[in-house]
């Protein structure tokens, strides 16, 4: 009997009824095999049989999950298996172990086989296991594997074959079989043993694996009757999880009975299934679609919505949340709901629980005498395990930290000198247990130190898992392993990796799960929230370097595999998953997404694309703009290429936005979708600004145009549809952050025998070299060769890509893979590029490639503002050429600057035409009638004797302006970063609030606070550390009256009770005692305590992610903190903090470099320290850096010194032009003739504008 059914059609009840009927009609339960997909369903099936059976003998139930079938078969027939194994040393039982033990074996096999040139060592094991899983679950023969190796042109196939063969032999030798190995033994075994089953009941026939189906095929001849329930649109486990779609009608040669009710719900679900496959969005009345800017907004809105539902009588177990990103941040937010929440997904390491973490550390202590411990962990043991009082525990652990710092001290040695009966007892206990097997040690530690009560339930369950794993190891290897190595491996085990650990779902909880887990557990609710729908993890594709989930399917029958196969198959699986998810709800499905993920990185879009709001609900345009005459042609754009050269302040951003709106509303190109519009910006902040403004205009818009920097686009190209596999990149590649990159280059530089200070130079050189494409063989500098080679191998080893790689790889992919190119060419119907003057040759090539099909390319910029050419790879010539060859809209009117300033800027262009003719295009700025300020005192040029006088002058002016025009904005623009610090220090010394660019981590208040608390926790004794932390904490409004605490901290022991009159003392102590948590959880605690508004909390999540990332590599609180302190003052691109809408704050003065000022405007602008050295405006003033010869030497076509000088001169003019055109009302240009350096007065030449008459 075949039932076509869904999870809503009571199929399990029908199958249970069939089971009971069989028994009633005389079948023995031993003859009935029931197969279900997983352990949870098995339990459910058994309970139903129990419930519906009559009183008396129920019988021996053979209800198995797909994996359980294999396990049970082996257990029953172990003697047969053992007799078939050729190795001696038999075992009474096979070790049917968890993955941990077999991974340990696999790891050792890999060591024996050399994978030459395989770069991602961490991942090799993972990849091999996945491949092995596919081979086993698809029951692939050696020949079938060979065919697949050929289809995929695999370069590692022989190594892989050898590794797997060795692995199989070793598991036989040890009799150690994890759930996959069990399946492969089963495949051998069932052919040897008589089949006991006459009836087969198969629930979840759509999720069956080929391995299980092969078994059914084998026993078919003995089976009297099959009962199969199957959802024809099911099979959500296609791909890596190896479900296969079986035509049971053909297999059993009978017609299926269709149990699927003919409801609107089923119809909608089928629509979802079909539409997703056809890539057309679905809308349904009970699907609520919302897009948010930030992830935290999405999470908080969900929580709010859930709270409302509960208020209105919905029960918690009628609500479920599905997301592929069940990280600790999400957990933390959801744990704040007053309802019980059960997480059915997300990986968790054993040592994440403080108690379990401490017990693992004790195991380490018991087995090593010469062991150092981090003070942070020691504190955890003292507090969590020995229950020593807080103050004493802190005292003991911090003293240890000091002692260990001074002269390395073993922790046991140190503890011996502490007079505390609990500690003495603890040390004696460690001595007593040290020679016992690990499992006995663990048992004894737990019995002594873990209280059995419900508060400890989580820890106990985990400890039992740990005990089980250790027992597995001891059973398999006896004493043939290093205890400490094993402990280290086990503490990093991710619990959810094991399919056997399926915790029971509490009855009254909101369930938060991954899509697959929700489907697998058949959790049906009224309200189902799908979160992070724009995150690509939703449609993660299972392809790796050594495994291909599609080609390794049993039914793969094509001779080749291309990217379209991958897209189609992934889409098919996504359709099945969304279909099943829709069936899991009965009232409403909420599809929520956010533009940015929790690190502030953009999401590329995923399943959000498949849902759409019904047309009538769409919000019509709200922004109206009246373009000026010079702007109009932009909005009259129809198609093709167009250049827009826009002078400073001409309203370029607004008009581009208006153009995007027009495109979005379909007024220019018919049937244009959001996804067809590609906008490229130079800075991330600009991309973010565009997105936020589009979102403001269309709050209900779910799918945004592709708006990003060129690096964002390149990343999308590499990641989307798993394109990276075509470049042989591994899926765990990571974009290296600047700090890590610098770290690698710095150590390579020092190791090459060069001074650390050369790091900057090599950072630049490596980037230039990569972009230039020169061959390393042709480079003369041996040190560069050495440094570059080290850098490259480090990058490969760690599977890192740098920003240059991103672009180079994306370009390479587009050039070499026509499928990928076609995909983007079809998609990119309109491309708009902002700041086109800063575009690099690679960017321009990429843009031309993806714009190649439709040819609608709009490039906006101002060649006169190209200020990055001399230090980056930008190439203004490309844009100049584009302007010449295509229709060009000149937006040369600007209402920003005072008329006098406009005149001055235009004169600079004239002046440059003599000294640096290539510097500018002759586009002169014009005022907008009646709009620009017309004050006579718009420009002040002033030369001072001493630099101190210059600063005092600026200070005086600022004070005056602030008094006279408190609402006006002021900016100070400087040539270099180092000048910013001196200027800020000076102004802050005069009590003037300054705001630096929010670029270094420590400028973010959340980061700064977390770091201060961390530093405090790490060391409460050092007066210097305390002062620094307290000063930061005192900046918070709630502590503003507690300044005296600084005095107290200097004179007393900070933790003594005398501090208790300060609330800051209490709060810091609270965190100190909380500090047995992992650093990430501490971040959330601190964040939750201090930051209430959502924007700040979004930044908490970002700090959390930064700490998480560091902790993953550094693994201890102390090391993580060290690294956090290192990076706190550096520029960080890997996290993009959110800040309030850029309404200009008139309270503070902005101090920034001339370069950074582009895009900004201020009422009053100061450009001080304009010496000839700082900003040479005639060729004699230009001095090349010593390093420039070297940089040129690694290029294919080195430039001469003269050319370089000329280029710098040109750029200096443009930089100066950018600076002056920031000013709306007044501009102050100043310089001093002398300045102080190391207490010596030095003279300097003012720049040309102070000496040249025209400029004056």
């Amino acid at each position: 009997m075949i039932l076509h059914s869904t999870i809503n059609s009571n199929k399990t009840d029908i199958l249970v009824e069939k089971f009971l009927q069989l028994v009633q009609n005389g079948a023995n339960t031993d003859e009935i095999l029931v197969l279900v997909q997983n352990g949870r369903k098995k339990k459910n099936f058994v309970e139903k049989i129990k419930k519906n059976s009559p009183v008396g003998n129920i019988g021996n139930l053979n209800v198995f999950s797909f994996f359980g079938l294999a396990r049970n078969f082996i257990e029953k027939n172990w003697a047969h298996v053992e007799n078939s194994i050729r190795y001696p040393n038999p075992c009474v039982f096979g070790h049917l172990c968890g993955l941990e033990a077999s991974q340990y074996i696999f790891k050792n096999c890999i060591k024996e086989i050399e994978f030459k040139g395989y770069n991602s060592k961490v991942n090799l094991l993972h990849q091999l296991l996945r491949r092995y899983s596919l081979i086993v679950q698809n029951a692939l023969s050696d020949n079938e594997i060979k065919i697949r190796e050929n289809i995929l042109h695999e370069s590692y196939c022989s190594e892989v074959r050898e590794a797997i063969k060795l692995y199989k032999l070793k598991t036989l030798e040890h009799r150690a079989f994890d759930y996959l190995r069990q399946v492969s033994i089963f495949e051998y075994l069932y052919k040897q043993v008589k089949n006991p089953y006459k009836y087969v009941i198969l629930d979840d026939g759509d999720e069956i694996t080929p391995a299980v189906f092969e078994y059914l095929k084998h026993i078919k001849k003995d089976v009297k009757e099959f009962f199969v329930a199957q959802d024809p649109c099911g099979s959500s486990r296609l791909g890596y999880l190896s479900a296969t779609h079986i035509d049971f009608e053909k297999f059993l040669n009978e017609k299926a009975i269709d149990l699927r009710e003919n409801s609107i719900k089923i119809q909608n679900a089928k629509n979802i299934f079909e539409n997703v496959k056809n890539k057309t969005p679905v809308s349904a009345k009970n699907i609520d679609i919302k897009g948010f800017v930030r992830r935290d907004e999405m999470i908080f809105k969900t929580i709010e919505q859930i709270e409302n539902l509960i208020k209105n009588g919905v029960k918690p177990n009628e609500i479920a949340v599905v997301t592929p990103l069940c990280d600790r941040y999400l957990r933390f937010c959801f744990n704040k709901i007053k309802q019980d929440v059960f997480f059915l997904s997300g990986s968790e390491k054993l040592n994440q629980n403080p108690h379990v973490g401490a017990i693992i550390e004790i195991l380490k202590l018991a087995n090593t005498d010469d062991c150092y411990l981090s003070a942070f962990i020691l504190k955890g043991i003292l507090l969590e395990i020995l229950k020593i009082n807080g103050d004493e525990a802190i005292e003991i652990s911090q003293n240890y930290a000091y002692k260990n710092q001074e002269y390395k001290t073993f922790v046991k040695e140190y503890l011996k000198n502490i007079k505390n009966p609990d500690i003495e007892d603890f040390l004696n206990f460690l001595e007593e247990i040290k020679n016992a097997p690990l499992s006995e040690q663990l048992y004894k530690i737990c019995t002594k130190y873990t209280q059995i009560d419900i508060k400890n339930q989580n820890a106990i369950l985990k400890l039992n898992k740990l005990a089980k794993q250790i027992a597995d190891f001891e059973d398999i290897f006896g004493s043939d392993f290093q205890k400490t190595t094993l402990i280290e491996q086990l503490e990093n085990t991710i619990i959810s990796e094991n399919p056997l650990s399926e915790d029971e779902i509490p009855k009254n909880s909101i369930v938060i799960a991954s899509a697959q887990k929700l489907i697998d557990s058949e959790i049906c609710v009224k309200h189902l929230f799908l979160l992070d729908c724009s995150n690509s993890d939703w449609i993660k594709q299972d392809i790796g370097m050594l495994y291909n989930s599609w080609v390794f399917q049993k039914n793969w029958n094509k001779n080749e595999f291309n990217s379209n196969d991958n897209i189609e198959l992934t889409l098919d699986r996504t359709a099945r998953i969304l279909y099943k998810l829709y069936l899991c709800q009965s009232e409403k499905m909420y599809v929520y997404s956010s533009i940015y993920d929790s690190l502030g990185m953009e999401n590329f879009g995923a399943i959000d694309k498949f849902f759409t709001i019904a047309q009538t609900d769409k919000v019509k345009k709200s922004m109206q703009i009246n373009p000026r005459d010079d702007q109009k042609p932009v909005l009259e754009y129809k198609s093709g290429k167009m250049a827009v050269s826009a002078v400073a302040g001409s309203g370029k951003t607004t008009i581009m936005l208006a153009l995007i709106f027009k495109l979005l509303e379909g007024e220019i190109i018919k049937n244009l979708k959001s996804e067809n519009i590609f906008v490229l910006t130079f800075m991330d902040s600009a991309a973010r600004n565009f997105k936020e403004r589009i979102k403001q205009n269309y709050p209900d818009m779910v799918e945004m145009p592709q708006i990003s920097t060129i690096h964002g686009l390149a990343l999308r190209i590499l990641k989307e549809n798993n394109n990276y596999t075509f470049l042989g990149l591994d899926n765990d590649f990571e974009i290296i952050d600047e700090n890590k990159r610098r770290e690698i280059i710095a150590s390579a530089t020092v190791n090459a025998g060069l001074d650390y200070s050369k790091t900057d130079l090599y950072e630049r050189a490596i980037s230039d070299f990569k972009n230039d494409g020169e061959n390393l063989k042709n480079i003369k500098s041996p040190s560069f060769k050495r440094i570059f080679t080290t850098y490259n191998s480090e990058m490969k080893e760690n599977n890192f890509l740098d920003y240059d790689d991103l672009l180079i790889f994306a370009l390479k992919l587009l050039k070499t893979n026509s499928d990928v190119l076609n995909y983007y060419q079809n998609l990119a119907r309109v491309i708009i590029e902002d700041e086109a003057q800063d575009s690099s040759p690679v960017q321009q090539e990429l843009l031309n490639l993806i714009g190649g099909k439709w040819g609608n390319i709009i490039r906006c910029g101002d060649v006169n503002q190209a200020i990055t050419a001399t230090f980056s790879n930008s190439d203004v010539k490309g844009f100049k050429k584009f302007i010449k060859e295509n229709p060009n809209v000149e937006m040369n009117k600007s209402q920003r600057c005072a008329i006098k300033i406009i005149d001055y800027a235009n004169k600079i262009i004239d002046r440059a035409s003599k000294l640096a003719p290539e510097a500018f295009l002759n586009i002169k700025m014009q005022p907008v009638e009646g709009k620009n300020a017309n004050n006579n005192d718009a420009i002040t040029l002033k030369l001072f004797e001493k630099s101190q006088d210059e600063k005092e002058f600026i200070f005086e002016k600022i004070t005056k302006i602030k008094k006279q025009y408190p609402q006006k904005t002021i900016g100070i623009l400087l040539r270099s970063n180092w000048q910013i610090k001196t200027f800020c220090d000076f102004l802050e010394g005069k009590n003037i609030k300054v705001q630096k660019d929010n670029y270094i981590l420590n400028d973010n208040p959340v980061f700064k606070t977390v770091l201060a608390v961390f530093n405090f926790i790490n060391d409460t004794k050092s007066k210097k550390n305390l002062e620094k932390c307290l000063n930061i904490m005192l900046e918070m409004p709630q502590y503003k009256d507690e300044g005296e605490i600084l005095n107290y901290a200097q004179n007393k022991d900070f933790l003594s009770q005398e501090g208790s009159k300060y609330s800051l003392w209490w709060d810091l102590k609270y965190f100190l005692l909380k500090s047995t948590l992992t650093p990430m959880e501490l971040v959330l605690e601190i964040g939750d305590f201090y930051y209430k508004n959502t924007l700040e909390f979004a930044n908490v999540s970002m700090v959390y992610s930064i700490v998480d990332k560091i902790y993953q590599t550094h693994k201890s609180f102390e090391q993580t903190l060290l690294r956090l302190n290192e990076i706190s003052n550096r520029v960080n691109k890997s996290a993009k903090f959110f800040s309030e809408e850029k309404t200009q704050n008139t309270d503070t003065i902005k101090v920034m470099t001339l370069h950074k000022s582009k895009g900004d405007e201020f009422d009053f602008v100061f450009i001080p320290e304009l010496s000839a050295d700082n900003l040479g405006l005639k060729i004699e003033d230009i001095k090349l850096k010593e390093s420039s010869d070297f940089i040129q030497s690694i290029k294919q076509k080195p430039k001469t010194s003269e050319t370089l000088k000329q280029e710098i001169l040109e750029e200096n003019y443009r930089l100066f032009y950018v600076g002056i055109t920031r000013a709306k009302i007044r501009l102050y240009l100043t310089c001093a003739k002398t300045f102080k350096m190391y207490n010596k007065e030095k003279t300097q030449n003012p720049c040309e504008i102070f000496t040249n008459e025209v400029a004056k």
Partner: protein, 195 residues
């Protein structure tokens, strides 16, 4: 929680809190017991033997003491009467109902032999066998369940000490008294835990 084994009933009888901790909240540490492992090995070997597997190779995995015990055990009369052997390591699940309370009993018979109409359940004990088998909770549960499975009252349970081959046994007596005894233990569990 609705299914009880002999061990869980024993604990429930002894201490309700311990029972809840272990079987409902799972607040219990996997115990560490080497002699229990040895017992399991011998059980398995006997079962393989009874099922007709060749155990020559497997015997090599036993230590000297274990080998000796196994050899001695297999010389017992019962192993000479293979035709009477029915099943070994047979799991069971029995549904019980008394006073509106429904619960289940589960467990595993080490071996079952049938002589004429009489069924005998064999239970190998690593060391000590119950001195008073008639009153032993295991006897009560096993005899009650076996009577349901084989639909007869002609049943006995035999305990054999593997260490010294001592044997004790008891026959099926009173079904109602058995159920009453089991029911009185199950009743101890607060109702909210019974699902």
């Amino acid at each position: 929680m609705n299914t009880f084994s002999v061990n869980s009933l024993k604990l429930l009888d002894k201490n309700i809190e311990d029972f809840i901790n272990k079987y409902i909240l799972h607040l219990d540490f996997l115990s560490y017991n080497q002699s229990a492992k040895s017992g399991e090995r011998l059980h398995a070997m006997i079962s393989y033997y009874l099922k007709g597997f060749d155990i020559t190779k497997l015997t090599n995995s036993l230590n000297r003491d274990e080998k000796e015990i196994l050899e001695k055990t297999l010389t017992l009369d019962i192993f000479k009467e293979k035709e009477k052997f029915i099943k070994s390591e047979e799991t069971f699940l029995i549904k019980c109902c008394k006073d509106d309370l429904i619960f289940y009993l589960s467990g595993r018979f080490d071996a079952i032999f049938k002589d004429g109409e009489k069924y005998t359940i064999y239970d190998w004990k690593s060391k000590n066998i119950p001195q008073n088998p008639r009153d032993n909770l295991q006897s009560i549960v096993y005899l009650y369940c076996a009577s349901k499975i084989f639909n007869t009252k002609n049943i006995a349970i035999k305990y054999i000490s593997l260490e010294n081959q001592q044997i004790t046994q008891t026959n099926f007596e009173d079904e109602n008294a058995y159920l009453e005894r089991i029911f009185n233990i199950v009743k101890k569990l607060p109702k909210k835990y019974l699902t």
